[in-house]
Amino acid sequence: MITDAAPLLEVKNVVKHFTVGGGMFGGPRGIVRAVDGVSFTLYRGETLGLVGESGCGKTTTGRCVLQLERATSGSVVFEGRDLTTLNETELRPVRRKIQVIFQDPYSSLNPRMTVGQIIAEPLGVHAIVPDAGRRRARVRELLNRVGLLARHAERYPHEMSGGQRQRVGIARALAMEPALIICDEPVSALDVSIQAQIINLLEDLQAEYRLTYLFIAHDLAVVRHISDRVAVMYLGKIVELADRKALYDDPLHPYTRALLAAVPIPDPELEARRERVVLGGEVPSPLNPPAGCVFHPRCPIAIDRCRSVIPDLREIKPGHWAACLLA
């Protein structure tokens, strides 16, 4: 899939800290290290999966790329420009090129606008199709492309099913003719039979328009299906990053292994034979992450050094990175 030498997006050492507490009712002040030094590269036309459990910082990472959150430090280089140095006016043309698809299309679509208006609005605002008549034609075209009918333009979001609403969300993103789409849990709110429809649609659109996806999700099977490369996050850090095949066939980080072992497989005979490796404990608070490797309190193979030494994300094999002293 990698064809261009220059990456489309380069995220370098992005850190995003939130201050909590200290307000009127706030209790003691603290710093949530939501994203703590994340780096990755995206090439045109590929899909990078970003997996992890809730609170690992995957969504905040996506929001930092979108510049919906301004990173505390680090850089987000898109088509050669560092977005973190741009002001709102300079960002406007860039925003068009980076679109987002959210988990819950219902809360991201204006309930008072028809589907047609929702898709047409940004076409007008960004002057992509300034003529109102042409805009209607373009809306029909987009609806068609995402598997909806022209008459759906007259409907309101509440009149549609979850799958149809997600198609509207995709059509709206597509209207901007973006280069990069951040897909933040785009199928996790959908029923399984509908999930597959949306995943196939995203793949078709990628092939047709040579889109680049940052695919944020917690479902490891879905991520394997759609991604070329996969990054696993834990407590604000990327702990492993590799090609899809290498990551799933030969995971190097104990957290990745635990995640894969935890996924139940729809086959009772296989499940009966399968060894149960249940990871104990819970994800520690990002307000007060453990010293050393953030995973060490839950790690089945941790040694003394893991309690004090922070492991770097190292290239263990060509293209296969892991942040583990024992990898």
Partner: protein
């Protein structure tokens, strides 16, 4: 082991301005003592309403159980007075919900929420109830229970809240637990912990469980028998092995085919079920799945297929074309066998 719960021709409707929603339409299933049974299906198929009907917690006046019997230990729950039913709820049949935060009382301590049932249902003294509450927390894997009892739900993590719900469900030593999407809101490593805990406790204590879920993997790991629901009806039932190894309804086959699987080589393309579930206020006259079905014949559009037995292993399916579906699913299973065999050989 005998039949613990026997649901027959259960029909639950909701009267709305848009028409009558036929949420559950003449459904029959049972749970044996100590057994884990699954109700599987997608949103709106009637699986949660089935559970609420058993507890008689369907919200009136819109919702109403219009027909059926629910025999629990031989007594019809639908014929009990509200007072008698209150003694069944929590005492003999307990329920675990998807989102523990909305089913725990935010202004009562963990300890109080556990002891309340013990005092009311079992007539324990406050002191005895407190001791038992601490035991229950320890049993579900919450460390340092004495320190935890005076805390409030918001001080617990999502996984701990679900453990707490399980402790509450087990408090009065019920014969049956209805678990409605018990791990859907949890992360995958925590989900594994909770499911392992539930399975272990139900085995050790001999509690029967009804797991309601849309997650086919969860069902495969934990259920003895599986009921697949679609549009208010059960369309297939069998042992987990039969349902996964030899699905005989096109919907079951479609569900299994539409999820990507980690145990198989990655497929180039997923095989979704096209279309959408029907509007429950305007169900088609024939089979509700017919509009989305690749095996559809003329008859499917006019006549609702009844559940018919396939062999004598208790496997039943509601499809006129079950034989044709059977040969397709055998083909798919063989293909799977073959690919996983090659994969093992490669490794």
């Amino acid at each position: 082991m005998g039949t613990l719960l026997d649901v027959r021709s259960l029909t639950t409707h909701f009267v709305t301005s848009a028409g009558v929603v036929r949420a559950v339409e003449g459904v029959a299933w049972d749970v044996n003592a100590g057994e884990t049974v699954a109700l599987v299906g997608e949103s709106g198929c009637g699986k949660s309403v089935s559970a609420l009907s058993i507890m008689r917690l369907v919200q009136g006046p819109a919702g109403r159980i219009v027909d059926g019997t629910i025999l629990f230990k031989g007594r019809d729950l639908l014929k009990l007075t509200e007072e008698e039913m209150r003694r069944v709820r929590g005492r003999e049949i307990a329920m675990i919900f998807q989102e523990p935060m909305t089913s725990l009382n935010p202004v009562l301590t963990i300890g109080r929420q556990l002891t309340e049932g013990l005092e009311i249902h079992l007539g324990m003294t406050p002191a005895a109830a407190r001791t038992r509450a601490a035991e229950l927390l320890a049993m579900v894997g919450i460390s340092d229970p004495a320190r935890r009892l005076p805390q409030y739900p918001h001080q617990f993590s999502g996984g701990m809240r679900q453990r707490m719900m399980i402790a509450m469900a087990l408090a009065c030593d019920p014969a049956l637990i209805l678990a409605d999407e018990p791990t859907t809101a949890l992360d995958v490593t925590i989900q594994a912990q909770i499911l392992e805990l539930m399975k272990d406790l139900s085995r050790r204590l001999g509690v029967a469980m009804l797991i309601i879920t849309h997650n086919l993997g969860v069902v495969a790991r934990y259920a003895d028998r599986v009921n697949v629901m679609y549009a208010g009806r059960i369309i297939e039932r069998g042992t987990a092995r039969e349902i996964y190894g030899n699905p005989r309804h096109p919907y079951t086959l479609g569900l299994l085919g539409s999820v990507p699987r980690l145990d198989e080589p990655r497929r180039e393309r997923l095989a979704p079920i096209e279309g959408q579930p029907p509007d429950l206020t305007r169900l088609p006259p024939g089979c509700a799945f017919a509009p989305r079905c690749g095996y559809r014949v003329e008859r499917c559009l006019v006549e609702v297929p009844p559940l018919r037995p396939l062999g004598d292993g208790g496997h039943v399916t509601a499809c006129w074309e079950a034989d044709r579906v059977g040969s397709a699913s055998r083909g798919a299973a063989e293909l799977r066998q073959a690919t996983s065999a090659t994969r093992r050989a490669v490794k």
